[in-house]
Protein backbone atom coordinates (compact mmCIF):
# COMPACT_ATOMS: atom_id res chain seq x y z
CA UNK A 1 0.00 0.00 0.00
CA UNK A 2 1.32 3.46 -0.86
CA UNK A 3 0.24 6.72 0.76
CA UNK A 4 -3.07 5.32 1.94
CA UNK A 5 -4.54 7.30 4.80
CA UNK A 6 -8.16 7.39 5.92
CA UNK A 7 -10.38 6.98 9.00
CA UNK A 8 -13.18 4.51 9.55
CA UNK A 9 -15.86 5.66 11.95
CA UNK A 10 -17.97 3.72 14.39
CA UNK A 11 -21.18 2.29 12.87
CA UNK A 12 -19.96 3.12 9.37
CA UNK A 13 -20.83 1.01 6.32
CA UNK A 14 -17.65 1.20 4.27
CA UNK A 15 -16.85 -0.28 0.90
CA UNK A 16 -13.32 -0.76 -0.31
CA UNK A 17 -13.36 -1.21 -4.02
CA UNK A 18 -11.03 -1.29 -7.00
CA UNK A 19 -9.92 -3.58 -9.76
CA UNK A 20 -8.31 -6.97 -9.07
CA UNK A 21 -4.80 -6.43 -7.64
CA UNK A 22 -5.64 -2.91 -6.42
CA UNK A 23 -4.85 -3.92 -2.84
CA UNK A 24 -8.36 -4.47 -1.38
CA UNK A 25 -7.55 -7.81 0.25
CA UNK A 26 -4.16 -6.59 1.48
CA UNK A 27 -5.81 -3.61 3.13
CA UNK A 28 -8.40 -5.86 4.79
CA UNK A 29 -5.72 -8.25 6.01
CA UNK A 30 -3.70 -5.39 7.46
CA UNK A 31 -6.66 -4.47 9.65
CA UNK A 32 -6.62 -7.81 11.48
CA UNK A 33 -2.88 -8.36 11.03
CA UNK A 34 -3.30 -11.16 8.53
CA UNK A 35 -0.40 -9.26 6.96
CA UNK A 36 2.24 -7.53 9.10
CA UNK A 37 2.44 -3.76 9.11
CA UNK A 38 5.88 -3.05 7.68
CA UNK A 39 5.55 0.74 7.38
CA UNK A 40 3.18 3.45 8.52
CA UNK A 41 0.51 3.14 11.16
CA UNK A 42 -2.85 1.47 11.54
CA UNK A 43 -4.77 2.27 14.71
CA UNK A 44 -7.77 0.17 15.70
CA UNK A 45 -9.66 1.38 18.76
CA UNK A 46 -6.49 2.95 20.12
CA UNK A 47 -4.27 -0.06 19.36
CA UNK A 48 -1.30 0.76 17.15
CA UNK A 49 -0.99 -2.36 14.99
CA UNK A 50 2.62 -1.66 14.02
CA UNK A 51 3.63 -1.97 17.67
CA UNK A 52 1.21 -4.58 18.96
CA UNK A 53 2.95 -7.53 20.70
CA UNK A 54 2.35 -10.92 19.05
CA UNK A 55 0.52 -12.18 22.12
CA UNK A 56 -2.13 -9.46 21.78
CA UNK A 57 -2.98 -10.26 18.15
CA UNK A 58 -5.78 -12.69 19.18
CA UNK A 59 -7.33 -9.91 21.29
CA UNK A 60 -7.26 -7.60 18.27
CA UNK A 61 -8.91 -10.23 16.07
CA UNK A 62 -11.71 -10.73 18.59
CA UNK A 63 -12.83 -7.18 17.81
CA UNK A 64 -13.66 -8.34 14.29
CA UNK A 65 -15.94 -10.82 12.65
CA UNK A 66 -14.27 -11.86 9.41
CA UNK A 67 -16.06 -13.17 6.33
CA UNK A 68 -14.28 -14.55 3.27
CA UNK A 69 -15.25 -15.12 -0.33
CA UNK A 70 -14.44 -18.85 0.06
CA UNK A 71 -16.35 -19.01 3.42
CA UNK A 72 -13.49 -20.82 5.22
CA UNK A 73 -15.70 -23.34 6.98
CA UNK A 74 -14.28 -26.58 8.40
CA UNK A 75 -15.60 -29.31 6.11
CA UNK A 76 -15.19 -32.08 8.68
CA UNK A 77 -17.35 -30.30 11.26
CA UNK A 78 -21.08 -29.71 11.10
CA UNK A 79 -22.70 -26.28 11.17
CA UNK A 80 -23.08 -26.31 14.95
CA UNK A 81 -19.42 -27.19 15.54
CA UNK A 82 -18.17 -24.71 12.96
CA UNK A 83 -19.72 -21.90 14.94
CA UNK A 84 -19.10 -23.44 18.37
CA UNK A 85 -15.36 -23.73 17.80
CA UNK A 86 -15.16 -20.01 17.05
CA UNK A 87 -16.94 -19.29 20.32
CA UNK A 88 -14.81 -21.73 22.30
CA UNK A 89 -11.68 -20.20 20.77
CA UNK A 90 -12.51 -16.83 22.29
CA UNK A 91 -13.23 -18.34 25.68
CA UNK A 92 -17.04 -18.42 25.69
CA UNK A 93 -18.27 -20.51 28.63
CA UNK A 94 -19.27 -24.03 27.53
CA UNK A 95 -22.81 -23.72 28.88
CA UNK A 96 -23.39 -20.59 26.77
CA UNK A 97 -21.97 -21.95 23.53
CA UNK A 98 -24.99 -24.04 22.47
CA UNK A 99 -27.43 -21.23 23.25
CA UNK A 100 -25.38 -18.71 21.34
CA UNK A 101 -24.90 -20.96 18.32
CA UNK A 102 -28.67 -21.58 18.04
CA UNK A 103 -29.35 -17.89 18.35
CA UNK A 104 -26.99 -16.79 15.53
CA UNK A 105 -28.07 -19.65 13.30
CA UNK A 106 -31.65 -18.48 13.74
CA UNK A 107 -30.55 -14.92 12.85
CA UNK A 108 -29.18 -16.10 9.50
CA UNK A 109 -32.20 -18.35 8.92
CA UNK A 110 -30.36 -21.67 8.96
CA UNK A 111 -31.86 -23.27 12.10
CA UNK A 112 -32.78 -26.42 10.20
CA UNK A 113 -29.19 -27.06 9.11
CA UNK A 114 -27.39 -27.34 12.44
CA UNK A 115 -26.26 -30.89 11.81
CA UNK A 116 -25.39 -30.42 8.13
CA UNK A 117 -21.82 -30.44 6.94
CA UNK A 118 -20.56 -27.59 4.72
CA UNK A 119 -20.04 -29.70 1.56
CA UNK A 120 -23.76 -30.51 1.67
CA UNK A 121 -24.77 -26.83 1.65
CA UNK A 122 -25.07 -24.38 -1.25
CA UNK A 123 -22.64 -21.45 -1.56
CA UNK A 124 -25.24 -19.04 -0.22
CA UNK A 125 -25.98 -21.29 2.76
CA UNK A 126 -22.28 -21.68 3.53
CA UNK A 127 -21.82 -17.93 3.45
CA UNK A 128 -24.77 -17.50 5.80
CA UNK A 129 -23.04 -19.88 8.22
CA UNK A 130 -19.87 -17.84 7.81
CA UNK A 131 -21.85 -14.70 8.71
CA UNK A 132 -23.33 -16.51 11.71
CA UNK A 133 -19.82 -17.45 12.84
CA UNK A 134 -18.62 -13.88 12.32
CA UNK A 135 -21.39 -12.36 14.45
CA UNK A 136 -21.40 -15.12 17.09
CA UNK A 137 -18.60 -13.53 19.15
CA UNK A 138 -20.49 -10.16 19.27
CA UNK A 139 -17.80 -8.21 17.40
CA UNK A 140 -17.98 -4.46 16.95
CA UNK A 141 -16.65 -4.61 13.41
CA UNK A 142 -17.28 -6.99 10.51
CA UNK A 143 -14.68 -7.32 7.79
CA UNK A 144 -15.96 -9.05 4.67
CA UNK A 145 -13.65 -9.75 1.76
CA UNK A 146 -15.72 -10.23 -1.42
CA UNK A 147 -18.51 -11.84 0.63
CA UNK A 148 -20.78 -12.23 -2.39
CA UNK A 149 -18.09 -12.89 -4.99
CA UNK A 150 -19.09 -16.53 -5.47
CA UNK A 151 -22.82 -16.16 -4.93
CA UNK A 152 -25.84 -15.77 -7.19
CA UNK A 153 -27.80 -12.51 -7.00
CA UNK A 154 -30.45 -13.88 -4.64
CA UNK A 155 -27.92 -15.28 -2.14
CA UNK A 156 -25.87 -12.09 -2.38
CA UNK A 157 -28.96 -10.09 -1.45
CA UNK A 158 -29.53 -12.27 1.62
CA UNK A 159 -25.92 -11.85 2.77
CA UNK A 160 -26.05 -8.09 2.27
CA UNK A 161 -29.29 -8.03 4.20
CA UNK A 162 -27.58 -9.77 7.12
CA UNK A 163 -24.67 -7.34 7.02
CA UNK A 164 -27.03 -4.39 6.91
CA UNK A 165 -28.96 -5.66 9.91
CA UNK A 166 -25.67 -5.99 11.83
CA UNK A 167 -24.97 -2.37 10.86
CA UNK A 168 -28.44 -1.30 11.93
CA UNK A 169 -27.74 -2.78 15.38
CA UNK A 170 -24.76 -0.40 15.73
CA UNK A 171 -21.93 -2.44 14.18
CA UNK A 172 -19.29 -1.22 11.76
CA UNK A 173 -19.10 -3.03 8.42
CA UNK A 174 -16.09 -2.96 6.08
CA UNK A 175 -16.60 -4.75 2.78
CA UNK A 176 -14.10 -5.28 0.00
CA UNK A 177 -15.97 -5.72 -3.27
CA UNK A 178 -15.92 -4.75 -6.91
CA UNK A 179 -19.68 -5.23 -7.23
CA UNK A 180 -20.70 -1.63 -8.00
CA UNK A 181 -24.34 -2.60 -8.34
CA UNK A 182 -24.46 -3.79 -4.71
CA UNK A 183 -22.65 -0.63 -3.57
CA UNK A 184 -25.18 1.50 -5.35
CA UNK A 185 -28.10 -0.41 -3.89
CA UNK A 186 -26.73 -0.36 -0.33
CA UNK A 187 -25.12 3.04 0.01
CA UNK A 188 -22.26 4.06 2.30
CA UNK A 189 -18.74 5.40 1.98
CA UNK A 190 -16.63 4.01 -0.85
CA UNK A 191 -12.84 3.95 -0.78
CA UNK A 192 -11.43 3.40 -4.26
CA UNK A 193 -7.99 1.83 -4.53
CA UNK A 194 -5.78 1.64 -7.60
CA UNK A 195 -2.47 -0.16 -7.63
CA UNK A 196 -2.15 0.13 -3.88
CA UNK A 197 -2.96 3.85 -3.78
CA UNK A 198 -6.05 5.58 -2.47
CA UNK A 199 -7.81 7.22 -5.40
CA UNK A 200 -10.95 8.58 -3.81
CA UNK A 201 -13.28 8.44 -0.81
CA UNK A 202 -16.89 9.03 -1.82
CA UNK A 203 -20.16 8.93 0.08
CA UNK A 204 -22.94 7.12 -1.79
CA UNK A 205 -26.31 8.02 -0.30
CA UNK A 206 -28.59 5.26 0.87
CA UNK A 207 -31.31 4.52 -1.68
CA UNK A 208 -34.65 5.82 -0.67
Amino acid sequence: MIDVSFDIYENEFLFITGASGAGKTTLMKLLYLGEPVSEGQIIVEGLNLSRIPRKRIPMLRRKFGIIFQDYKLIHTKNVFDNIAIALEAVGTKSRLVGKKVRSVVRTVGMEGKLKSFPPGLSGGEQQRIAVARAIAGDPRIIIADEPTGSLDAESAKVIFGLLKSFHDRGGTVIIATHDTELIRKTGGRVILLEQGRLQSSTLIPKPA
Binding site: Y32, G34, R54, K55, I57, P58, M59, L60, R61, R62, F64, I66, K72, L73, I74, H75, T76, K77, I85, A86, E88, A89, V90, G91, S94, R133, G137
Partner: protein
Protein backbone atom coordinates in the same frame (compact mmCIF):
# COMPACT_ATOMS: atom_id res chain seq x y z
CA UNK B 1 -9.09 -27.72 29.87
CA UNK B 2 -11.83 -30.34 29.43
CA UNK B 3 -12.45 -29.23 25.87
CA UNK B 4 -8.69 -29.41 25.16
CA UNK B 5 -8.76 -33.03 26.35
CA UNK B 6 -11.81 -33.68 24.21
CA UNK B 7 -10.09 -32.24 21.14
CA UNK B 8 -6.86 -34.14 21.90
CA UNK B 9 -8.77 -37.41 22.30
CA UNK B 10 -10.70 -36.65 19.12
CA UNK B 11 -7.42 -36.26 17.25
CA UNK B 12 -6.05 -39.49 18.71
CA UNK B 13 -9.17 -41.41 17.69
CA UNK B 14 -9.25 -39.70 14.32
CA UNK B 15 -5.69 -40.78 13.52
CA UNK B 16 -5.68 -44.17 15.24
CA UNK B 17 -3.05 -45.87 13.12
CA UNK B 18 -0.56 -43.01 13.28
CA UNK B 19 -1.05 -42.62 17.01
CA UNK B 20 -0.72 -46.37 17.57
CA UNK B 21 2.61 -46.39 15.71
CA UNK B 22 3.84 -43.49 17.83
CA UNK B 23 2.71 -45.09 21.10
CA UNK B 24 4.39 -48.37 20.11
CA UNK B 25 7.62 -46.54 19.25
CA UNK B 26 7.61 -44.81 22.64
CA UNK B 27 6.76 -48.15 24.31
CA UNK B 28 9.65 -49.92 22.54
CA UNK B 29 12.03 -47.14 23.52
CA UNK B 30 10.87 -47.34 27.13
CA UNK B 31 11.22 -51.14 27.05
CA UNK B 32 14.78 -51.00 25.69
CA UNK B 33 15.84 -48.26 28.08
CA UNK B 34 14.05 -50.09 30.91
CA UNK B 35 15.96 -53.30 30.14
CA UNK B 36 19.24 -51.43 30.42
CA UNK B 37 18.23 -49.65 33.63
CA UNK B 38 17.00 -52.93 35.12
CA UNK B 39 20.27 -54.61 34.18
CA UNK B 40 22.39 -51.83 35.68
CA UNK B 41 20.40 -51.70 38.89
CA UNK B 42 20.69 -55.44 39.41
CA UNK B 43 24.31 -55.61 38.26
CA UNK B 44 25.22 -52.81 40.66
CA UNK B 45 23.38 -54.55 43.49
CA UNK B 46 25.04 -57.87 42.61
CA UNK B 47 28.46 -56.24 42.52
CA UNK B 48 27.69 -54.63 45.85
CA UNK B 49 26.70 -57.97 47.37
CA UNK B 50 29.84 -59.58 45.99
CA UNK B 51 31.98 -56.77 47.37
CA UNK B 52 30.33 -57.21 50.76
CA UNK B 53 31.05 -60.93 50.76
CA UNK B 54 34.65 -60.57 49.72
CA UNK B 55 37.39 -61.52 52.20
CA UNK B 56 41.03 -60.65 51.80
CA UNK B 57 43.34 -63.67 51.90
CA UNK B 58 46.93 -62.93 52.94
CA UNK B 59 49.24 -65.92 52.28
CA UNK B 60 52.44 -66.15 54.34
CA UNK B 61 55.90 -67.23 53.35
CA UNK B 62 56.45 -70.91 54.09
CA UNK B 63 58.29 -71.36 57.34
CA UNK B 64 57.06 -68.20 58.99
CA UNK B 65 57.65 -68.80 62.73
CA UNK B 66 54.64 -68.97 65.05
CA UNK B 67 55.67 -65.97 67.16
CA UNK B 68 55.88 -63.85 64.01
CA UNK B 69 52.36 -64.90 63.02
CA UNK B 70 50.76 -63.20 66.02
CA UNK B 71 52.82 -60.07 65.29
CA UNK B 72 51.57 -60.01 61.71
CA UNK B 73 48.02 -60.56 62.94
CA UNK B 74 48.32 -57.57 65.28
CA UNK B 75 49.73 -55.43 62.45
CA UNK B 76 46.84 -56.36 60.17
CA UNK B 77 44.28 -55.60 62.87
CA UNK B 78 45.71 -52.09 63.19
CA UNK B 79 45.01 -51.29 59.51
CA UNK B 80 42.07 -48.95 59.04
CA UNK B 81 38.77 -50.57 58.04
CA UNK B 82 39.61 -54.11 59.10
CA UNK B 83 37.03 -55.86 61.26
CA UNK B 84 38.22 -59.43 61.84
CA UNK B 85 41.42 -61.32 61.18
CA UNK B 86 41.40 -65.11 61.37
CA UNK B 87 44.50 -67.23 61.08
CA UNK B 88 44.09 -70.35 58.90
CA UNK B 89 46.99 -72.73 59.34
CA UNK B 90 48.18 -74.78 56.37
CA UNK B 91 46.85 -77.86 58.19
CA UNK B 92 43.37 -76.35 58.58
CA UNK B 93 43.43 -75.21 54.96
CA UNK B 94 44.15 -78.68 53.59
CA UNK B 95 41.41 -80.16 55.76
CA UNK B 96 38.95 -77.61 54.40
CA UNK B 97 40.03 -78.41 50.87
CA UNK B 98 39.64 -82.14 51.44
CA UNK B 99 36.14 -81.57 52.79
CA UNK B 100 35.22 -79.52 49.75
CA UNK B 101 36.67 -82.06 47.29
CA UNK B 102 35.43 -85.34 48.70
CA UNK B 103 34.86 -86.73 45.18
CA UNK B 104 38.50 -86.09 44.22
CA UNK B 105 39.96 -87.55 47.44
CA UNK B 106 42.48 -89.60 45.42
CA UNK B 107 44.27 -86.36 44.49
CA UNK B 108 45.31 -85.90 48.09
CA UNK B 109 46.53 -89.49 48.63
CA UNK B 110 49.74 -88.98 46.67
CA UNK B 111 50.66 -85.71 48.36
CA UNK B 112 53.94 -86.10 50.28
CA UNK B 113 53.67 -82.75 52.00
CA UNK B 114 51.02 -80.03 52.44
CA UNK B 115 51.54 -77.54 49.57
CA UNK B 116 49.22 -74.89 51.04
CA UNK B 117 50.61 -71.89 52.91
CA UNK B 118 49.54 -70.48 56.25
CA UNK B 119 47.12 -67.62 55.67
CA UNK B 120 44.98 -64.93 57.24
CA UNK B 121 41.34 -64.54 56.30
CA UNK B 122 40.52 -60.86 56.71
CA UNK B 123 37.07 -59.30 56.74
CA UNK B 124 36.53 -55.60 56.24
CA UNK B 125 34.24 -53.52 58.41
CA UNK B 126 30.79 -52.79 56.94
CA UNK B 127 31.64 -49.19 56.00
CA UNK B 128 34.91 -50.17 54.35
CA UNK B 129 33.49 -52.78 51.99
CA UNK B 130 34.26 -50.88 48.82
CA UNK B 131 36.90 -51.19 46.18
CA UNK B 132 39.07 -48.27 47.33
CA UNK B 133 39.32 -49.50 50.94
CA UNK B 134 39.95 -53.07 49.75
CA UNK B 135 42.78 -51.84 47.49
CA UNK B 136 44.32 -49.74 50.27
CA UNK B 137 44.11 -52.51 52.90
CA UNK B 138 45.55 -55.06 50.45
CA UNK B 139 48.43 -52.73 49.64
CA UNK B 140 49.29 -52.26 53.34
CA UNK B 141 49.00 -55.98 54.11
CA UNK B 142 51.22 -57.00 51.19
CA UNK B 143 53.87 -54.56 52.48
CA UNK B 144 54.09 -56.45 55.79
CA UNK B 145 57.11 -58.76 56.24
CA UNK B 146 56.49 -62.49 55.63
CA UNK B 147 53.32 -61.82 53.58
CA UNK B 148 53.93 -63.49 50.25
CA UNK B 149 50.70 -62.75 48.43
CA UNK B 150 47.42 -60.95 49.00
CA UNK B 151 44.31 -61.91 47.10
CA UNK B 152 40.74 -60.61 47.16
CA UNK B 153 39.41 -61.23 43.68
CA UNK B 154 40.45 -57.79 42.51
CA UNK B 155 41.06 -58.86 38.93
CA UNK B 156 37.64 -60.29 38.21
CA UNK B 157 36.00 -57.49 40.17
CA UNK B 158 37.84 -55.03 37.95
CA UNK B 159 36.89 -56.95 34.85
CA UNK B 160 33.27 -57.11 35.88
CA UNK B 161 33.30 -53.43 36.73
CA UNK B 162 34.91 -52.55 33.36
CA UNK B 163 32.37 -54.70 31.55
CA UNK B 164 29.58 -53.01 33.44
CA UNK B 165 30.93 -49.59 32.48
CA UNK B 166 31.09 -50.68 28.84
CA UNK B 167 27.46 -51.83 29.04
CA UNK B 168 26.57 -48.54 30.67
CA UNK B 169 28.19 -46.56 27.86
CA UNK B 170 26.39 -48.61 25.21
CA UNK B 171 23.19 -48.31 27.25
CA UNK B 172 23.46 -44.53 27.24
CA UNK B 173 24.10 -44.55 23.48
CA UNK B 174 21.16 -46.88 22.81
CA UNK B 175 18.95 -44.90 25.17
CA UNK B 176 19.88 -41.69 23.35
CA UNK B 177 19.10 -43.25 19.97
CA UNK B 178 15.75 -44.58 21.13
CA UNK B 179 14.94 -41.22 22.70
CA UNK B 180 15.64 -39.44 19.41
CA UNK B 181 13.64 -42.01 17.44
CA UNK B 182 10.67 -41.60 19.77
CA UNK B 183 10.87 -37.79 19.63
CA UNK B 184 11.04 -38.01 15.84
CA UNK B 185 7.96 -40.23 15.65
CA UNK B 186 5.94 -38.04 17.99
CA UNK B 187 7.02 -34.93 16.06
CA UNK B 188 6.00 -36.59 12.82
CA UNK B 189 2.58 -37.58 14.12
CA UNK B 190 1.88 -34.11 15.42
CA UNK B 191 3.10 -32.63 12.14
CA UNK B 192 0.66 -34.78 10.18
CA UNK B 193 -2.18 -33.87 12.53
CA UNK B 194 -1.30 -30.18 12.12
CA UNK B 195 -1.31 -30.68 8.36
CA UNK B 196 -4.68 -32.42 8.36
CA UNK B 197 -6.12 -29.64 10.53
CA UNK B 198 -4.42 -26.68 8.86
CA UNK B 199 -7.74 -25.11 7.71
CA UNK B 200 -9.20 -25.40 11.17
CA UNK B 201 -6.07 -23.89 12.71
CA UNK B 202 -6.13 -20.99 10.25
CA UNK B 203 -9.78 -20.32 11.04
CA UNK B 204 -9.12 -20.46 14.77
CA UNK B 205 -6.35 -17.92 14.35
CA UNK B 206 -8.65 -15.61 12.41
CA UNK B 207 -11.40 -15.72 15.00
CA UNK B 208 -8.91 -14.73 17.69
CA UNK B 209 -8.01 -18.03 19.32
CA UNK B 210 -5.08 -17.65 21.68
CA UNK B 211 -1.83 -19.49 21.06
CA UNK B 212 -2.53 -21.83 23.95
CA UNK B 213 -6.04 -22.64 22.66
CA UNK B 214 -4.48 -23.84 19.40
CA UNK B 215 -1.38 -25.49 20.81
CA UNK B 216 -2.51 -27.03 24.10
CA UNK B 217 -4.56 -29.87 22.55
CA UNK B 218 -1.45 -30.91 20.59
CA UNK B 219 0.60 -30.91 23.78
CA UNK B 220 -2.08 -32.91 25.59
CA UNK B 221 -2.20 -35.36 22.69
CA UNK B 222 1.56 -35.86 22.77
CA UNK B 223 1.62 -36.17 26.57
CA UNK B 224 -1.07 -38.86 26.31
CA UNK B 225 0.98 -40.62 23.63
CA UNK B 226 4.09 -40.43 25.83
CA UNK B 227 2.27 -41.65 28.95
CA UNK B 228 0.56 -44.50 27.10
CA UNK B 229 3.85 -45.51 25.49
CA UNK B 230 5.54 -45.35 28.90
CA UNK B 231 2.88 -47.48 30.58
CA UNK B 232 2.86 -50.09 27.81
CA UNK B 233 6.68 -50.19 27.76
CA UNK B 234 6.90 -50.59 31.54
CA UNK B 235 4.15 -53.21 31.46
CA UNK B 236 6.07 -55.19 28.85
CA UNK B 237 9.24 -54.82 30.90
CA UNK B 238 7.47 -56.15 34.00
CA UNK B 239 6.12 -59.10 31.99
CA UNK B 240 9.62 -59.91 30.68
CA UNK B 241 11.08 -59.54 34.17
CA UNK B 242 8.49 -61.84 35.74
CA UNK B 243 9.03 -64.38 33.02
CA UNK B 244 12.80 -64.35 33.42
CA UNK B 245 12.72 -64.47 37.21
CA UNK B 246 10.30 -67.38 37.11
CA UNK B 247 7.35 -65.61 38.62
CA UNK B 248 5.50 -66.58 35.47
CA UNK B 249 5.86 -70.14 34.30
CA UNK B 250 5.03 -70.29 30.67
CA UNK B 251 5.83 -73.89 29.87
CA UNK B 252 9.59 -73.69 29.52
CA UNK B 253 10.29 -73.75 33.21
CA UNK B 254 12.89 -76.51 32.85
CA UNK B 255 15.17 -74.21 30.95
CA UNK B 256 14.76 -71.62 33.65
CA UNK B 257 15.54 -74.00 36.48
CA UNK B 258 18.64 -75.34 34.75
CA UNK B 259 19.84 -71.87 33.98
CA UNK B 260 19.21 -70.74 37.50
CA UNK B 261 21.05 -73.70 38.97
CA UNK B 262 24.05 -73.05 36.72
CA UNK B 263 24.32 -69.56 38.11
CA UNK B 264 23.45 -70.38 41.68
CA UNK B 265 27.01 -69.95 42.87
CA UNK B 266 26.96 -66.36 41.60
CA UNK B 267 23.44 -65.51 42.57
CA UNK B 268 23.26 -67.09 46.01
CA UNK B 269 21.76 -64.68 48.52
CA UNK B 270 20.94 -62.31 45.67
CA UNK B 271 17.39 -61.46 44.75
CA UNK B 272 16.72 -59.91 41.32
CA UNK B 273 14.72 -56.74 41.78
CA UNK B 274 12.36 -54.84 39.50
CA UNK B 275 12.70 -51.11 39.03
CA UNK B 276 12.11 -49.09 42.20
CA UNK B 277 9.05 -46.83 42.17
CA UNK B 278 11.05 -43.62 41.81
CA UNK B 279 12.71 -44.96 38.64
CA UNK B 280 9.32 -46.09 37.29
CA UNK B 281 7.99 -42.58 37.92
CA UNK B 282 11.12 -41.14 36.28
CA UNK B 283 10.70 -43.32 33.18
CA UNK B 284 7.01 -42.42 32.94
CA UNK B 285 7.81 -38.72 33.24
CA UNK B 286 10.63 -39.21 30.73
CA UNK B 287 8.30 -40.80 28.20
CA UNK B 288 5.86 -37.92 28.66
CA UNK B 289 8.77 -35.55 28.16
CA UNK B 290 9.55 -37.38 24.89
CA UNK B 291 5.96 -36.66 23.80
CA UNK B 292 6.22 -33.04 24.85
CA UNK B 293 9.60 -32.57 23.11
CA UNK B 294 8.32 -34.10 19.85
CA UNK B 295 5.28 -31.85 19.97
CA UNK B 296 7.34 -28.77 20.80
CA UNK B 297 9.63 -29.37 17.82
CA UNK B 298 6.70 -29.87 15.46
CA UNK B 299 4.80 -26.83 16.66
CA UNK B 300 7.92 -24.70 16.51
CA UNK B 301 8.59 -25.78 12.96
CA UNK B 302 5.10 -25.98 11.50
CA UNK B 303 2.85 -23.79 13.57
CA UNK B 304 4.34 -20.33 13.57
CA UNK B 305 1.54 -18.17 14.82
Amino acid sequence: MLQFFRRALGDILGNRFLNAVTVITVALSVLMIGVFVLFFINADALMDSWTKGIRIMAYLDSGTPEEKISEIKASIERIKGIETVRFISKKEAIEQLKNQMTHQASLFENLKENPLPDAFEIQMAELSRNREDFDEAARQISALPSVEEVEYGQKWLERFSDMLNLFKASGYAMGGLFFLAAVFFVANTIRLVIYSRRDEIEIMRLVGASESFIKDPFYIQSLIQGALGGLIGLGALLAVFRFVTGEWRLGIGNWKLETASNFNFLLSNFQLRFLPSEIIAGILLGSMFVGWAGCYLSLKQFLKL
